[in-house]
């Protein structure tokens, strides 16, 4: 049985619903498998200016999860367009550029630059990266600040606009609705949740920066819940991210209302995690007699509030 794995995300149609999560991926992974098997490629977040990144160590593990405090280091937008883009353009899969900026104006200026750069399929606005200097605050913490950033991005560029939300907000549904209203075409749910680990021998936090972003399997039930809440709040498609390690996890995210999924931390443990998720997803559909991957989307949502396809 042939399964139609293609997914429609706003103006884009992807060959399949599997793509990397920003910051956990790079052209380096082409050593492990053919990146053009992915539904899309997503760059690490690019900032307008050079950024040093956070104090060391930047990574710590928990029993079933990962804490990181990378801090979006990078050489800035000019360097990305000049040196990063040519590298990405070697691949045929649609390229999504993740963009982060400290202010609305800088977000808009950078988006305008990207819109003039050939070879970009969509912008993923990372309005959710926990800003550690402000105790984890980010645009995506409140509907108002999120909408302001999204509206400015919408005006600045005509590229498909994906918006990545934060699990650290107290009201994800309101933030999702505000982003939809401000012109987001796709919601990416979600970035890492703030966490902490302490080395009890030294009495110091395990990360140099203190707190960090928590990802991986331990985060999955929370990420799924956020997808489920957003799917009931908006009509635009959702990309599920958080703790997806295998095909069963991807199915769970689709059933919770995601139209596609991103795989992050899993690639650190198994560089071939993404093609494996893709194969497993196809096998699941075959076993269940599902001919279109879209038929899985949102089946677990409460019946009354969803207009989506159900079994």
């Amino acid at each position: 049985m042939v399964v139609d794995l293609s997914v429609r995300l706003g103006r884009l149609t992807l060959a399949n619903p599997i793509m990397p999560a920003s910051g956990t991926f790079g052209p380096e992974l082409a050593q492990a498998f053919d990146l053009d098997r992915l539904g899309a490629l997503v760059t690490k977040s690019i900032t307008p200016e050079f950024r040093e990144g956070n104090a060391l160590p930047r990574v710590a593990e928990t029993e079933n999860g990962l804490l990181n405090s990378i801090g979006i280091p990078g050489k800035g937008l000019d360097h990305f367009i000049e040196h990063g883009m040519p590298e990405w353009r070697r691949f045929a899969a649609p390229l999504v550029v993740s963009l982060s900026a400290p202010t609305v104006a800088e977000f808009a200026r950078a988006a305008a630059r990207l819109a003039r750069t050939p070879g970009i399929a969509a912008i993923e606005a990372n309005i959710s990266c926990p800003n550690l200097e402000e105790d984890g605050r980010a645009f995506a913490m409140l509907p108002k600040t999120a909408a302001a950033a999204v509206a400015a991005l919408r005006r600045a560029s005509s590229l498909p606009l994906w918006v990545k939300l934060s699990p650290n907000t107290g009201d994800i549904a309101a933030v999702a609705r505000a982003c939809e209203a401000a012109g987001a075409e796709v919601l990416v749910v979600a970035n890492t949740i703030l966490g902490l680990a302490i080395d009890i021998e030294t009495g110091r936090p395990k990360l140099g920066a203190g707190m960090g972003g928590f990802s991986g399997p331990a985060f999955k039930p929370i990420a799924l819940r956020l997808v489920w809440q957003c799917a009931q709040a908006v009509r635009i498609p959702i990309i599920g991210v958080g703790g997806i390690m295998n095909a069963a996890d991807a199915v769970e995210s689709l059933m919770a209302g995601a139209s596609a999924v991103q795989v992050g931390t899993a690639s650190f443990i198994h560089p071939v995690a993404m093609p494996q998720v893709l194969e497993g997803l196809e096998e699941f559909c075959q076993r269940k007699g599902i001919t279109r991957i879209g038929d899985l989307v949102g089946v677990a949502l409460p019946r009354q509030v969803t207009g989506m396809a159900a079994e």
């Binding site: 380096e28 690490k44 160590p57 990574v59 280091p73």
Partner: protein, 255 residues
């Protein structure tokens, strides 16, 4: 797979992997999934230097059994599977024309430098080594030298010979007598700083292999950076997994 304890705190692990062994250069590392036969072990992989690149297609690792990852690896037995990603990173440089090198290693840092010793011997380069250890039973001189014929000075914490002033005096004597074309080090911040200073004084090129906690091991996450002084004098965060783990001795900064 072959697995055996070495002394009280170390363990060696050798796997048959002819394809990988053929592509591995001294100083490179593998990212190992540290799961015992039952699947128990830490969430993240652990980077491990290649300690043996066997002619028979074997790849060897030498572990200092310290925490979750290394103890899970030490529980592996013949017949068990090991998931490894690699070879990764930049190895050591042996420039044509060099005749003598000096190696300064401490603890399990000697694992990283052992394949360099073998490679040097294969090219007819003489190796003078200073190995530092807590005590004679921790030295692992045989694990270091293999069949390379390296000449070894051993220094120990137990008799005070590993104290920086003593090591400095020893190194100055060896610099004078063995006149190395290049120096290499791994495993101790204090010894790295000492060697960096002496090598600058004697104007000898050198390299150091650095460590850092890793996420992906593949250059994607920027977890593993170390500050490195670039040629233009500026300091940049470089990835140990990609630009390293081997860096120029003078460009690396103390940690």
């Amino acid at each position: 797979m072959e697995s055996a304890a070495v002394g009280r705190r170390y363990h060696r692990l050798e796997v048959a992997a002819p394809d990988l062994a053929a592509r591995t250069r001294p100083g490179q590392f593998y990212h190992l999934l540290c799961r015992d036969a039952a699947g128990n072990g830490p969430f993240l992989r652990r980077p491990m230097s290649v300690w043996r690149i066997g002619a028979e297609g074997r790849l060897g690792f030498l572990l200092h059994v310290k925490g979750l990852g290394t103890s899970a690896l030490a529980r592996l037995r013949a017949g068990d599977q090991l998931s490894l990603v690699g070879p990764l990173g930049q190895g050591f440089t042996l420039r044509p024309g060099w005749r003598r090198i000096l190696i300064l290693a401490r603890g399990v840092g000697l694992a990283t430098l052992a394949p360099l010793t073998e490679a040097a011997a294969a090219r007819g380069i003489a190796v003078q080594a200073v190995l530092s250890a807590r005590a004679p039973e921790d030295l692992m001189a045989a694990e270091f030298a293999g069949g390379s014929g390296a000449i070894i000075d051993a220094v120990y914490d137990t008799d005070g010979t590993s104290e920086p002033p003593a090591v400095e005096a020893l190194l100055r004597r060896r610099f004078a007598t063995a006149r190395p074309d290049a120096v290499f080090t791994c495993g101790s911040n204090r010894l790295f700083q000492l060697l960096q200073r002496l090598a600058a004084e004697y104007d000898i090129p050198g390299e150091v292999a650095l460590e850092q906690q890793m996420g992906c091991g593949l250059g994607m996450c920027f977890c593993c950076v170390r500050p490195i002084r670039l040629a233009d004098g500026s300091v940049a965060q470089q990835r140990v997994c990609t630009e390293g783990p081997v860096f120029d001795l003078q460009q690396a900064l103390a940690w």
